[in-house]
Amino acid sequence: MARSLMLDAIDRSEEGGQWDLIIRAGKGWFDLHLRDLWRYRDLISLFVKRDFATFYKQTAFGPLWYIIHPLFTTVVFTVIFGKVARISTDGVPPFLFYLAGNVSWSYFANCLNETSNTFVKNAAIFGKAYFPRLTVPISVIIINLAKFGIQLILFLGFYVYFIAAGSSVRPTFLILLLPVLILQMAVLSLGTGILISSFTTKYRDMIYVMTFIVQLWMYASSVVIPASLIPERYRPIYMLNPMASVIELFRCAFLGQGVVNAVYVGISWAVTLVALFGGIILFSRVEKSFMDTV
């Protein structure tokens, strides 16, 4: 028995040594070929360059759109939720409160919307060439960082203006965690996006459901209603939504107000990582056979 196992192992190692690539029918759950992804890193950067260049060439106003969108939404929120509905903003000027929420939310939402389209949008290329499919959603996450950067500058502009005008908002040491927050949004949107994109290969409905889900998700993510308004009892459930914690942290970092708690941050990261691994596993399962169904 032991001998045969040993022979088996030798057999396998020989096989592994002789062949660089073995194509077989099985759909392994953990066959993620992340090493391939590293080999194709140049492709990721070229996808980023492509999207950047084409965006500039195709739109008249270019990056101006990135400013118009959150600004417009923030003005609407300020009027409707701030002035009409009078929802509490934890003592922070409503405009700044909603702008902070919108800017961080829009990075997540843009990434999610674009990555969830991966298979359907790239079916033509995917059908004609092999490269790790994950390069596409990853490049989307990166290109959106540029948009986020522009919007962050917009936010900082108003932020400085409000402080200069005598507002009581102050940054906290949490501002040092900004890169971690951005990383978490990137990871979460990548994970959720590829998870959904895997479903869209089978169910086209998902594309329409997505826009709807993203809308609802926003209202459950502290963009409009601060977590402090959620009753204490329900807060752990509310905080299962990783974006709620991210946005609270973001506000707390810049505006000094927000529900921040190590347990909630831990929960939020746990959910984020589950989404990422679930997404990658499902994605790499689908990427092998989706050409037959799309």
């Binding site: 062949w19 194509i23 492709l43 070229l46 004609k128 060439a129 056979s289």
Partner: protein, 442 residues
């Protein structure tokens, strides 16, 4: 000893006709709910109830295909549309997965299922070279080191900073092929990408492929262009309805495939002939080429079926692309196994003088008459050859098929005459003196 670099074992791919799933979540849930309650699935197609099994909806695009490829070998893959050629390459390129079987590959692969994959119209030629190169598996550094050669090969130096949406389709193809040409993998899969661009460029691409093959790389080459297959591959596999029908020397596989693939009707056009021509052919500098081969009856009407008592006219139109010193037009009649039955050539005829085999540039017509009352009642095939002595031998094997219907002679009623020849020959009968009685007594 040559090393096996590709080993394909029992590779199969099953596809499903029509819709896979119902495409919408609602209907899938509806079906699932119905099954759960033990009711009939409302979304099942009628055929599934009637048919003997669910298998009717499935078909094998590839079935139990096995072969090996040695390092440095250029393997041709031929077959009709839908034979599974592209499916095979797609599986080996990892665009899709097999349903059964294993393929093992040793070495760095590049796969050209199309050229210009991922080209973006808004990007410049240069940007697209990088993008396309990376999609095909090159790193930026590799592309950078070959960039000048790629641009040079494409011949688009002046337009390299122009967005390719302003390119003509010809320029687009040239750029796309140039990138592909400088891939330097150990194993290359090519699917019918030479079928684009003008003739001049196709020749250039074919030349490049030949160079690559000479460098000892392994190539799997799918094409409908038999001339290209012949000039590139020594060994060819023939697929038919997903199965491996033949794995042999290129000439054999191609001949078999073309034999399967006779030109229908009694006239072979220039395109038909060019796809099937073989022999000693100079592609870069052609001297003689067929224009048309036809089987005609006495009235000049194209026909595939002749009465045995009527003449069959083999009409051959050819072109001399330059002055030719010693030209022979040859016609063979062969059987279904390619066994030669009859051979004839224009210079046999003493009335054809030197004037007719020293030809100027131009188009000529040659015809020969296969006289009536010669053949038996069966099927025959026509092989034609155009020889420019010491320069080119252009052969088209089994290009046309014809049938002879034996009409019978005086007293041969009902005989099918299924022999190669059933000519009306001269017979002599005479009595032998003094033996008449003994014949009668027997």
């Amino acid at each position: 000893m040559p090393r096996t670099v590709i080993k394909v074992d029992g590779l199969s791919k099953q596809y499903r006709y029509g819709v896979i799933g119902h495409g919408t979540l609602y209907k899938d849930i509806e079906s699932w709910w119905a099954r759960l309650r033990g009711k009939e699935d409302p979304n099942v197609r009628i055929t599934e109830h009637v048919g003997p099994g669910l298998d009717g909806e499935w078909f094998w695009a590839l079935r139990d295909v096995s072969f090996e490829v040695q390092q440095g070998e250029v393997l041709g893959i031929i077959g009709r549309n839908g034979a599974g050629k592209s499916t095979l390459l797609k599986i080996l390129s990892r665009v899709t997965t097999p349903t059964k079987g294993v393929a093992k590959i040793k070495g760095r692969i590049a796969s050209l299922l199309e050229i210009g994959t991922g080209f973006h119209p808004e990007l410049t030629g240069q940007e697209n070279i990088y993008l396309n190169g990376a999609i095909l598996g090159m790193t930026k550094a590799e592309i950078r080191s070959k960039f000048d050669e790629i641009v040079d090969f494409s011949g688009l130096e002046k337009f390299i900073d122009t967005p390719i949406k302003r390119y003509s389709s010809g320029m687009y193809v040239r750029l796309a092929f140039a990138v592909a040409a400088y891939l330097e993998p150990e194993i290359l899969f090519v699917d019918e990408v030479l079928a684009v661009g003008d003739v001049e460029f196709q020749k250039k691409c074919l030349g490049k492929m030949e160079d690559v093959a000479k460098e000892g790389r392994t190539i799997l080459f799918v094409s409908h262009n038999m001339a290209a297959i012949r000039s590139l591959c020594r060994r060819t596999i023939l697929l038919d309805k997903g199965e491996l029908l033949m794995d042999s020397a290129t000439n054999e596989a191609v001949a078999y495939y073309l034999g399967q693939n006779l030109v229908e009707g009694a006239v072979a056009s220039k395109a038909d002939i060019e796809q099937r021509m073989e022999g000693k052919i100079n592609r870069r500098n052609p001297s003689v080429r067929f224009r048309r081969i036809a089987l005609l009856d006495q009235n000049g009407v194209p026909k595939n079926s002749f009465d045995s008592d009527k003449d069959i006219i083999v009409s051959i139109t050819f072109e001399c692309l330059r002055a030719v010193r010693n030209l022979h037009v040859m016609v063979s009649v062969v059987d279904e196994n390619n066994f030669p039955i009859l051979f004839t050539q224009n210079v046999d005829d003493s009335t054809i003088t030197t004037n007719f085999y020293q030809l100027d540039r131009g188009v000529y017509d040659a015809s020969c008459i296969l006289p009536g009352n010669t053949f038996g009642g069966r099927r025959f095939f026509l092989t034609v050859c155009l020889v420019n002595l010491k320069t080119e031998h252009v052969t088209v094997k089994k290009i046309l098929e014809f049938e002879v219907k034996f009409q019978g002679y005086n007293n041969s009623y009902g005989e099918s005459g299924d022999v190669f020849f059933r000519p009306r020959l001269k017979w002599m009968m005479r009595p032998v003196d003094g033996e008449r009685l003994s014949i009668h007594q027997r």
